[in-house]
Amino acid sequence: MKVRFWGVRGSLPVPGARTERYGGNTSCVEVRSASGTRVVVDAGTGIRKLGKELAGTGEGGHSEIHLLISHTHWDHIQGLPYFAPLYQKGNKLQVYARKRDDLHLRAVFASQTDDPYFPVPFDETQAEIGFRELPDAARFDIADVKIACARLNHPYIATAYRLTVDGATVVYVSDTAPFSDILFEDEFVARPPGPGAELPTRDKQKLERMREGVVRLCDGADLVIYDTMFTPEDYTRIPHYGHSRPSDAVDVCRQAGATKLALFHHAPERTDAEIDTILGSTRSAAAATGSALEVIAAYEGLEVDLARGKS
């Protein structure tokens, strides 16, 4: 199994000299099995380059792409209209995301290319596009890849995915807040909880169960890709924005016995040098607990080979 990072940024793309090394494109990760099954997680602006690569190889016109969507906030879908394989006959794209009671998945994607936002309406794309809506905690197979899902703690709700193939497992956990201070559902959370505010017992229990689900999803994973957008200071200031700190990811990975953690969904304001520093301190903190957890910071273009003990 090969895991390739095409976009590692959260919120919005951030071009410029200060993001040159880690990359400025929004979330997109590609997973390929040894037999050639291609599963892409999220369609931020990073997916544009994957599309160019696919269109440029002999695969154009025969591509079969499975796209798992964590949630439909812009930074996880905004690259799709610029994904070249959509506009080539013969390609197949299957989109998966959590089922909602208010909107069908297709409508969410089709609206993105509606007039007046985009010049080419969804109905005019050339590829064969299918949508599959998933219940929470869904389990299914995509060819030789086994998929499992868990619910995350994020405004309007997001889904984590576990992908297992070739004897290796990668888990994508983005976007999520820690499972402690606020329970996110569909409603907008306008402000952080006041000092000393107690979570209702029911919310607390729901968060505990949610966290257990995520730890279980990460159980024994070779690689966990985790939303670590926030510094501890960010989290203190804006806990109601729905993102985690590196320490939250380390705790989940340790408890799950995961081998490797990739810090992911870097904040738009984070410079390359700051990500270096965060990576260094996260490594020290993980090591200080006596954990063998290996920590990396995802960067655009990084390929991790998880097949048969390689890394």
């Binding site: 940024r9 919120s11 919005l12 793309p13 951030v14 071009p15 410029g16 000299a17 993001t19 040159e20 990359g23 400025g24 494109n25 602006t45 544009r48 439909t72 906030h73 812009w74 879908i77 905004q78 690259g79 209209p81 610029y82 909602r100 208010d102 909107l103 969410v108 609206s111 007039d115 007046p116 936002y117 985009f118 010049p119 405004p155 309007y156 569909d186 907008f188 306008a190 924005y241 729905g242 738009p268 655009e300």
Partner: protein
């Protein structure tokens, strides 16, 4: 007047080492009329608006005492996608006047609301943003006042859609913003040339080389050649190339600029100054 460029790219932000010099953010330009009295006009809200907003928060906008006007050429993503990340909009007390092309002000508001909807953005609605926002559809051709400047707008053809071009006049100086213009074979329509006529600065769509323009004609963008033709026909003083294709590297934009200079010299525009828009740069007139 001071013109600052915050995003100069077309279609989709283009991060990476190849775009570091000209910049990879999508369209956003700010105008400070003369007098240094805090007046501010923002032209389009591509991802460049994020950096503009962050800079503004260091001044009165950070205390909820800012006021500015935003002119939107059209609502394709690369011209509005920075709006949700424009931080001064979240500061109560700030006031924003938004103008754009739509059949009614309510429809324009609906277009901006569409981007904020819960399935796409956690803030869920403009109403949660904090600042006071009023939204007005523009009546084309009729001059109106924005930040005490005289403004006129005209629709340029842009693929299947149209995009407004704006002429902003202040203290005897004039700036024209004409992004996303895909003229027919006959070149810019008379109404557009009338809008551009004699401008001190014409910021013009120059997405493509003439060759790429031919390949991608239905997309409705200008080549550097189209921009030169408009500048010469309207006898402007300075032409600013803008809205570069997302796949053009810095050296390709250098070449686009050199080609623009050559074309201007060959086609009667020797006296027209040529500038390539660079993210983070400011022009004074």
């Amino acid at each position: 007047m001071e013109i600052s460029f915050w995003g100069v790219r077309g279609s989709i932000p283009a991060p990476g080492p190849a775009t570091v010099r000209y910049g990879g953010n999508t369209s956003c330009v700010s105008l400070r009329p003369s007098g240094n009295d805090g007046r501010l006009i923002v032209l389009d809200c591509g991802t460049g608006a994020r950096n503009l907003g962050n800079m503004l928060m260091e001044g009165p906008f950070g205390q909820g005492k800012g006021e500015a006007s935003i002119l939107l050429s059209h609502a394709h993503w690369d011209h509005i996608q920075g709006f949700p990340f424009f931080v001064p909009l979240y500061q109560p007390g700030n006031k924003f006047h938004i103008f754009g092309g739509a059949k009614s002000s309510a429809l324009l508001e609906g277009i901006l609301e569409g981007q904020m909807a819960p399935q796409y953005f956690p803030v869920q609605t403009l109403k949660n943003m904090g600042a006071t926002i009023d939204i007005s559809a523009i009546a084309e051709g009729t001059p109106f006042q924005v930040e005490r400047c005289a403004v006129r707008a005209r629709t340029n053809p842009h693929g299947r859609a149209g995009a407004l071009a704006f002429r902003i006049e202040d203290a005897g100086r004039s700036v024209v913003y004409a992004s996303d213009a895909g003229y027919g074979p006959e070149g810019p329509p008379a109404a557009s040339l009338d809008l551009y006529r004699g401008a001190d600065v014409l910021i013009h769509d120059s997405t493509y080389t003439p060759e790429d323009r031919k390949r991608y004609a239905p997309r409705g963008f200008s080549s550097v050649e189209d921009a030169v033709a408009a500048a010469v026909a309207a006898a402007v003083k300075r032409l600013v190339l803008f809205h570069y294709d997302q796949d053009y590297s810095d050296s390709e934009v250098d070449a686009l600029l050199a080609r623009g200079r050559r074309l201007l010299d060959e086609r009667g525009g020797k006296s027209i100054e040529l500038v390539g828009a660079i993210e983070g740069s400011t022009l004074k007139i």
